[in-house]
Symmetry: C2
Subunit: 416 residues, 2 copies
């Protein structure tokens, strides 16, 4: 491990120990100071960001990607406002999760405590730098940030401004750190920093997540890969099914809770598919369908790869199935365990689908797009976990904590 990396990781570890016992008020004051500093230093951030944008342009990056990268005064104000909103959220640390008095009189409590040092590896947008830092600080954690090299100048400026702002508060400025270099090598150092980093959260596409999961010796929370399904059951209300499908697919196709695959029960295909295919076409969606879908309209022939795909675009894989069980098997085989929806009027079918689909979220007669910390009322989210350990689904502040058992006696001894 490089000396540069160790220095930063150790500084974060020390800051974490200092930050963990802090009560809510100084953390909120620090977050507000960060928000104010970002606005005050807006011009400086925009100037740094211009370097990233120029570099991206030289490299021939698409205008859509450059727009994701770009920061202006209004976007910085929005980033600062998000930090203020995190300050307004309840502090998860210290919450008594369980507690009581044991038969022997020992008082037992399970308290929420910070995880310690959280590593975040992310792509693209520089707003994540600030969002992630704010959520980690609020939950009492230090954070090691490893962003995209394409946002290097912006991230460097943002982190320096945050650190300077923290220096005047009770939160140690070492609690927010950019991993040196922001290179592939620095990401690997983060993955191997077991003992210095308590948890690693990769935010990005499937290839980033997979490489972290494969290589990391630090415990990982997998986030965000969404191959979401809409299953239209034999008993579906067809109007409702079309609306849900269009919303799930087309309302915002680039996000992880957008639908990528449509499964239609054969019994409702005649009634549902002609209307669904018309509406999908009207919304600019390309359907990759099997032969039974092709019977109802123009489609691109589907491949097995399409069923695995997280398109994040106006594409949709589609197949007809002969039973709810066949739909469930398809979802268990090809899905990513993010969100899968059933549209049905049958209470029994809904119960069965909910029980058999093994995903972070299951939607009944609702769009998959609701799997989101904001929609669930969490106030903010660090990502959507698609794994089973620790946290599953949208992760808010409590998901950035661990717990500690505390028991208090008056000389209690164990006798057996």
């Amino acid at each position: 491990m490089s000396e540069d990396f160790l220095k930063v990781a150790r500084a974060a570890r020390e800051a974490a120990a200092e930050l963990a016992p802090l009560p809510r008020a100084p953390k909120d004051r620090a977050l507000r100071a960060v928000a104010d500093a970002l606005v005050v230093h807006s011009a400086e951030i925009v100037a740094a960001n211009a370097e990233d944008v120029e570099r991206a342009r030289e490299q021939g990056i698409s205008e859509a990607m450059i727009d994701r990268l770009r920061l202006d005064a209004a976007r910085i104000e929005a980033i600062a406002e998000a930090v203020r909103q995190v300050a307004d959220l309840p502090d998860p640390v210290g919450e008594v999760v369980r507690g009581g008095t044991l038969p022997n009189g020992l008082e037992l409590r399970q308290l929420r405590v910070p995880l310690g040092v959280i590593g975040i590896i992310y792509e693209g947008r520089p707003n994540v730098t600030v969002d992630a830092a704010a959520l980690c600080l609020k939950s009492g954690n230090a954070v090691l940030l490893r962003g995209s090299s394409s946002a290097f100048s912006s991230n460097t400026a943002l982190v320096r401004i945050m650190q300077d702002a923290l220096a005047a508060t009770e939160v140690p400025s070492g609690a927010v750190q950019l991993v040196p270099g922001q290179t592939r090598e620095s990401a690997k150092e983060l993955m191997r920093a077991r003992g210095l980093v308590d948890v690693l959260i990769p935010r990005g596409g499937a290839s980033l997540i997979n490489s972290v999961v494969e290589e990391s010796t630090v415990p990982v929370i997998e986030t965000g890969v969404g191959n979401c399904h809409v299953y239209v059951d034999a008993d579906a209300d067809v109007d409702l099914a079309v609306d849900i499908l269009i919303n799930a697919k087309a309302q915002r196709p680039s996000v992880c809770n957008a639908a990528e695959t449509l499964l239609v029960h054969a019994a409702v295909a005649d009634e549902f598919l002609p209307r669904a295919l018309d509406s999908l076409a009207a919304h600019g969606v390309t359907v990759h369908g099997d032969d039974r879908i092709a019977h109802y309209g123009e489609v691109v022939p589907v491949t097995e790869g399409d069923f695995y795909a997280e398109y994040l675009s106006l594409d949709l894989a589609a197949a007809v199935v002969d039973s709810l069980e066949e739909a469930v098997t398809h979802i268990r085989t090809y899905g990513s365990g993010h969100t899968d929806a059933i549209v049905t009027r049958s209470q029994q079918a809904a119960r069965r689908f909910v029980s058999l689909v093994d995903s972070a979220a299951v939607a009944v007669n609702a769009s998959t797009r609701f799997t989101d910390g904001g929609q669930f009322g969490f106030g903010a989210e660090i990502g959507i976990s698609t794994q089973k350990l620790h946290a599953r689904g949208p992760m808010g502040l409590p998901e950035l904590t661990s717990t500690k058992w505390v028991y208090t006696g008056e000389g209690h001894l164990r006798t057996s």
Copy 2:
């Protein structure tokens, strides 16, 4: 991956899908059938166990270890009784962890669901084979067991009897599987079976846990390594401190929640240490002490290795510290994050110690020996987690589950 391993792992995976949606009653019936079968086939188990004992004897294993390995009718009855107790515990699956109606009318619930397939790698005693299987089945999980090769014949018999018993119930018999070979290689296959196995729980000493943590691509829950501390504060009630120290060290020295290190505040050393050293000696404890401890009695000189040691024997590392903060730093440096105790009459010192010690459990004026699922009222435990993700401290049935979000609407679409 060997064909033998894949066959068993896939069978467990299929059984897990079938077992997950089962309600409590058939699971409890299956557990009672398992308990009855173990008793009925007692002679068969004892005969298989005799092969293990004979092999151990040929290999010159110590009588103490052989006693841990040995099964007789009374021990098998106790194992069966533990299975019946698991059947009597509440089913964690289906519990609504959080839930409510969102402002838009969407009904949102977070439900406990099984993890899926749990791998257990363990040493020594064959009773773990049955205990672990019972806890996994009750929480709706299939289990892949990889026990010690020293218990190969016993484990083979126990698993075959459990599978035969399950075959007559609604729980699929494939839900309990012994990993083929029970070798080092089979343990590695379990560690690499990402996608087939959802979580791996190593139960055993530090070297087992470390090798699993290092090599596994399957998510791991670290358990059981306990380098527990008793810190006697300046303000301690000295009688109470001696009693707690002796209980923590000597009541059962071979377990992970026994104390391994004593830290004494300098201000109480004169009053506490002479009595503590006398009492430790009377209980047969060898003290590995620093110079300041040696001032009060006969000790073996302590090394840094002693401060890291999990003795699991009648040995105790000991040092005098000049402040609570120095004690905390010692614990953070050398401890294993299991359980650390403070003995003090000062409310302020207790609060500070609880806040600063970053361990799964912190005891105030109580023996470290209470960190235990049974003592905490969990009814049973699969182990004591010393990691921060997912579960920390004693793990009961709820800790063997994940969660699933379910939301139900009437055609709810997202508009922003």
